[in-house]
Symmetry: C2
Subunit: 342 residues, 2 copies
Amino acid sequence: MKLASLADGRDGRLVVVSADLRRAVDAGPIAPTLQAALDRWAEVAPRLQELSDRLASGTEAGFAFDAAACASPLPRAFQWADGSAYVNHVELVRRARGAELPASFWTDPLMYQGGSDAFLGPHDPITLPDPEWGVDFEGEIAVIIDDVPLGASRTEALKAIRLVMLCNDVSLRNLIPGELAKGFGFFQSKPASAFSPVAVTPEALGPAWQDGRLHLPLHSWLNGVAFGKPDAGLDMTFDFGTLIAHAARSRRLSAGTIIGSGTVSNRGEDGGPGRRVDEGGVGYSCIAELRMIETIQTGKPATPFMQPGDTVRIEMFDGEGRSIFGAIDQRFLPADPPETAA
Amino acid sequence: MKLASLADGRDGRLVVVSADLRRAVDAGPIAPTLQAALDRWAEVAPRLQELSDRLASGTEAGFAFDAAACASPLPRAFQWADGSAYVNHVELVRRARGAELPASFWTDPLMYQGGSDAFLGPHDPITLPDPEWGVDFEGEIAVIIDDVPLGASRTEALKAIRLVMLCNDVSLRNLIPGELAKGFGFFQSKPASAFSPVAVTPEALGPAWQDGRLHLPLHSWLNGVAFGKPDAGLDMTFDFGTLIAHAARSRRLSAGTIIGSGTVSNRGEDGGPGRRVDEGGVGYSCIAELRMIETIQTGKPATPFMQPGDTVRIEMFDGEGRSIFGAIDQRFLPADPPETAA
């Protein structure tokens, strides 16, 4: 089953989307919003599935699905906690800023609390006032979960996964060192994130969803040029069950919580950082990793962070080349300066 | 105007509360929940005020208000961002763990993103599995805001404050050093927070609300013994307008966002850390500060963090000794260990 939220008010309007992303049908009579559906999933999901079946069989005609009309599946959420499960990415990014990787990072997941009150729609521009902040994208996998009790095990956590999405966890690279030095987390260096137009149940992902990991390449393009296609099932040190259990160690988690994987990243065949796409590698899911490779090769980074007008596209395909979640497709547009001063 | 949410489902049931906290009236016909009211505040607030006036005049009888029947004013919120505006507290806590205070902390606010998907009710127990985690309370002031645009000024931010509350930002002192060392913020060391039963509009606070600060003592008791009564209007280096503008530097904030002050803390008359209540001082709003004083005086802390069964009460009174927000009144009860293992 595939679900999306058409942009409409603060919480969007829930629709069921066909497997091929061509048709959609209003789910309003069952649940007006995705959060409302998640609030009573056990009761609502079978009815949404039935509607999905009717859309698939043609009993329900629906209407043409337009990803550009979508808000984030959850336009606002009660929680967004992002892990950093591809430790290869953490190692590269830290090396790029001259920081060591503690050995514990391979056994104890990193996770930060992100802002969840106003996500960007999948085709919304990334509007930020200052290009000097170092705007980067981060291609990730994310899951939406049901209620999870305090102290839940990995097994319990895996059972609570209701939907899977793609994410662009927009990052402000030049603000990160200052924010992390203050010791309170990323705050200003993590502006609003975007998610794929469509959220998909684990069941509908078939054999690609296994062991709490999504075993398919995550494609990204910068200004239309292939940038990365690392396999999201490879080198994911911590699976989603482990990430969710980590989040639930000292508190229960409420339905509609979104848990992120962190930037998808594969090691190279030689165990090293891996090659660029145009050099035959699987590339990267953020500019920071490429800049690290450039620094290793030439002593300094060559690829700038996103410049005004630059575009990023993030998408995933099934074995037949069909888009699973629709595309995140965003342009960086500097915001107007605020009209009033402090 | 004073508002509260009676415990009922995931979002509670909105009631208008009388100034003396004795009566309440169902606000359901105007807005079923506080979040629903905040989503269209300009339209809803005058109608809630009218209901409040009818309750005050006796035109509306209402029913007896019971703080123990309350959930958090926002039982779950789309954002909880907690500042650390009383730099005196930051300096003490850092000194206690042997960390320096950078000079920039006096000019650049500290702020962390907290979990907001499942707050504790004001009289709910604090259930955590391990007393060794070092359970501490933190008495704070918090505000609920309306929509705030990206890059808002302090002046714009101040105008967006809709409601004021008290907060117990529960902290796990023995988990903090490990979490902060990982560089991603407090995550596991900040479990669910609790807020006062009643949220109050700035207008209803009268002259005590000035310059984005609440100029009244914040009282706290540990096991019924007076622990602190520092003035929340003193030594607040960053007012709420500055804190909100800080949060909005790289993203817009949505209606219903909660911004916290950090632990309320006053310097002593000599500019030092200040004396205990039983020694004639204003005391502290968390155990960590007292432990720091003890360490300075005797070389080691004497007061333990909260033990199973310990209680904390946090409350604020007007000039006539009447409770303004009702009390946060919580007991630390260890949670049962989870039934299943990983």
